[in-house]
């Protein structure tokens, strides 16, 4: 395959020798001949947090297919999302990390910084053809530590029937958003719902607004970030959004939208399955409105990345690398994207996907500019994320004006 480039050839002879026949079978790359097989790697352990359907089955099948291709069986464990990192830390100290580990992309740098992950370059894997944000998120200190097959982000979901009835077109700028939200607010229904909760979810929802306005997480109390926050404050103070947004997680936002309590919402494609099941709900998806017409929308990069922990067993690591390579192949990117309402991370594959699945086009358009949360701050991100949601909450609850609220939060 074309993207098996120079990095692959740099693989040391020793590592290749240990690869066993697995390397030969993997992903149809027949040119990088490995030494003779010793064939001792027969199974690999995999750990992820896809414990809900349909993700659970989708990944089980994809991993098994890749395992078969590589010639190993897959022993997969799924833990609940919020306990994954705790489990990984525990496994780090007892040296019982799995052969293949899935991480939420903003967590990668922190775990890589601890030394628990192996650089993928050692196994000849590279991130060629991937969107820049994806590479940023999976890179620590100049080395690639993870490969992410698919991504998601957030966009503007709108209730087509409600908008049509009110004669409102999906807003594209902040001004339009305010006008549309006000026009759509009626009785018990709010114009828009978003999550301003005091967790990383709240920060994640605020990022596209501050980033599209030229703001950054490196300087939290900037005029750009304050303007973005002012937009949220205006939406809440005018009554176009509920004051309760400070307590809503994204799942709650989705419930409000489903129940018809909000005409529009900020949310991500992982909600599509439940939205599709909701009887009588016709929804559309549009990019998140930008400050001025013509501004570029910058959305945060979501999704999980696949890593190879330092288990100390080179043969197993090499086999694991083959599985990760297979899982992130073009075909698998397309298949995973289609089954999970996500978008391929290789820009060329994403374009192809947009042609095949037009309803996901709004997300495909955002892929090239998706920005990694850890792109600027790396392992310092959690601290900044905490400050951002604290500032957002202070302003939304009327504790201070946006700039002052962000200032307070930045000072800790």
């Amino acid at each position: 395959m074309a993207r098996r480039g120079t990095v692959q050839r740099r693989t040391t002879a020793a590592a290749v020798a240990l690869l066993a026949p697995l390397a030969l079978v993997a992903c149809g790359g027949g040119d990088d001949t490995a030494a003779d097989a010793t064939g001792e790697v027969t199974s690999l352990t995999v750990q992820d947090y896809y414990n809900n359907e349909p993700d659970n089955t989708v990944y089980q099948e994809a991993l098994e297919a890749c395992g078969q291709q590589v010639g190993v069986s897959i022993e997969r464990t799924s833990v609940p999302g919020d306990s994954l990192i705790a489990k990984v830390l525990q496994q780090s100290s007892s040296r019982t990390l799995p052969d293949i580990l899935m991480l939420d992309n903003p967590d990668l740098q922190q775990i890589a910084a601890s030394g628990a992950l192996a650089p993928l370059g050692d196994f000849g894997l590279s991130a060629e053809g991937y969107a820049e944000g994806v590479v940023d998120a999976s890179t620590y200190d100049g080395e690639l530590y993870g490969l992410q097959p698919v991504t998601n982000t957030i966009a503007l979901y709108y209730n087509e029937d409600v908008l049509a009835q009110a004669g409102v077109r999906p807003p594209t700028t902040w001004e339009e958003l305010k006008t549309a939200a006000a026009a759509l607010t009626q009785g018990d229904r709010y114009g828009i719902a978003f999550s301003g909760i005091n967790t990383y979810e709240g920060t994640w929802q605020f990022l596209p607004f501050m980033w599209s306005n030229g703001g950054s997480e490196t300087e939290i109390a900037s005029p750009e970030n304050a303007e973005a926050l002012q937009l949220w404050v205006d939406l809440v103070r005018s009554g176009s959004a509920s004051e309760a947004v400070v307590g809503w997680a994204q799942a709650d936002v989705n419930d409000q939208f489903k129940a018809g309590n909000a005409a529009m919402m900020i949310n991500g494609p992982w909600q599509n399955p439940t939205l599709n099941e909701t009887a009588g709900l016709n929804y559309g998806i549009a990019p998140i409105p930008v400050p001025q017409a013509g501004d570029e929308a910058v959305a945060p990069l979501g999704g999980e990345t696949w890593t190879i922990p330092q288990t100390g067993d080179e043969a197993r690591q090499a086999a694991a690398a083959e599985v990760v390579e297979c899982l992130t192949s073009d075909e698998n990117q397309l298949a995973l994207a289609e089954k999970r309402f996500t978008v391929p991370t290789k820009t060329a594959v994403a374009e192809r996907y947009g042609q095949q699945v037009p309803e996901m086009q709004a997300f495909v358009d955002m892929v090239p500019t998706l920005r990694a949360r850890t792109g600027e701050l790396g392992e310092e991100w959690p601290e900044a994320a905490t400050k951002i949601y604290t500032g957002v909450q202070t302003a939304l609850t009327g504790g201070a004006e946006p700039l002052a609220a962000l200032q307070q939060a930045e000072n800790g």
């Binding site: 922190q110 628990a116 307590g247």
Partner: protein, 333 residues
């Protein structure tokens, strides 16, 4: 529960007695039999130690080790890195200065104080009133008394989810009721307004604490002999005066125990706040306990989390010592 010291038997104490903590401080034995008695004493001592060992090991392993580890951790830069490398550089008091110097800390201390005082006051007053009510026998009092235990039996995660739903600003039952009855204009954000959230969390915690207070105080009331009330009634003390001069003085030891234990339990409350508000909005319900959890398990700064945890331990310890002193005095009386 202090063991009254019993006269020690002249024969070596059987193992069961040794386990019960009887100390063999017999009077000085006659010189002639001294040697034999010394052997017996030593054996007795060994048996005592054998019975003590499991308890000592248990306490050291499950209470001592975590406590020491926590104290040590607070002086280290203990992060995600530490788990893989095992390295946790010493940073002296840096964790404490960072934690105590942050603006969240002063708010967390104030919130912890308000939360504890508010919860205890509410739980105790309502608990005492209910205990007094149930002292009188009336139809269905037994059923009602067991129903009262309900908040204790429901898992906190479940009850906080239900309370979140009740207190929801837009569609919660409470606001719907308030609007229907015209008691309140608009929709108060019980969990989403910075001025109401702490109050709401306190109210829910009072609801959870009432069974504990009622049960213990009811037990204390049962111990007050009926004759005292009869005698007081003969002297003309009934109603409030009977409570003031008979019930209250005799209930005092139990009251102290309830209050001190209540403070220790309330200081460390984590789950109910996490379930209702997660410490928000804008840190309005952030307590020392939730902030410590946030630092350790959200930001993975275990050193700072431990430092804050130690502050909480010292606070609880003060009340625990108070409890032990009060308890000893209560038993001695």
């Amino acid at each position: 529960m202090a063991e009254r010291r019993r006269p020690v038997a002249t024969m070596p104490a059987p193992p069961a007695a040794a386990a019960a903590g009887v100390r063999g401080d017999a009077a000085e034995p006659p010189v002639l039999v001294r040697r034999g008695r010394w052997d017996a004493r030593r054996r007795e001592r060994l048996v005592e130690l054998g019975f003590l060992a499991p308890a000592v090991v248990y306490v050291a392993l499950f209470f001592g080790y975590p406590l020491v580890k926590n104290v040590v951790m607070a002086f280290q830069e203990y992060t995600t890195r530490t788990f893989f490398t095992g390295e946790a550089p010493w940073v002296g008091l840096a964790n404490y200065t960072a934690v105590l110097g942050s603006s969240v800390f002063s708010q967390a201390v104030l919130n912890t104080a308000l939360f504890t005082v508010g919860s205890i006051a509410g739980q105790f007053v309502l608990g005492l009133l209910l205990a007094l009510l149930f002292r009188r026998r009336f139809p269905l009092s037994g059923v009602l008394r067991s129903l009262l235990l309900l908040p204790w039996l429901v898992p906190l995660i479940a009850s906080s989810a239900v309370w979140r739903w009740i207190l929801d600003q837009d569609s919660g039952v409470l606001n719907q009721f308030l609007r229907a009855t015209g008691l309140v204009d608009g929709r108060p954000g019980w969990l989403t307004s910075t001025s109401l959230a702490l109050l709401a969390v306190v109210v829910v915690n009072i609801w959870i604490g009432i069974p504990f207070n009622t049960t213990i105080l009811y037990g204390g009331l049962q111990d007050i002999p009926e004759e005292l009330y009869e005698a007081a009634a003969l002297d003309g003390a009934t109603g409030w005066r009977a409570f003031r001069h008979v019930t209250w003085p005799l209930l005092r030891p139990v009251v102290t125990v309830v209050l001190v234990l209540g403070v220790v339990y309330t200081l460390k409350v984590l789950d109910i706040i996490l379930g209702l508000t997660g410490g928000g909005p804008a840190n309005a319900t952030q307590t020392i306990a939730t902030q410590s959890y946030q630092l350790s398990f959200q930001e993975f700064d275990f050193g700072q989390g431990a430092a804050l945890g130690n502050v909480l331990i010292v606070l609880s310890l003060l009340f625990a010592v108070l409890y032990l002193r009060v308890n000893r005095r209560a038993v001695d009386e």
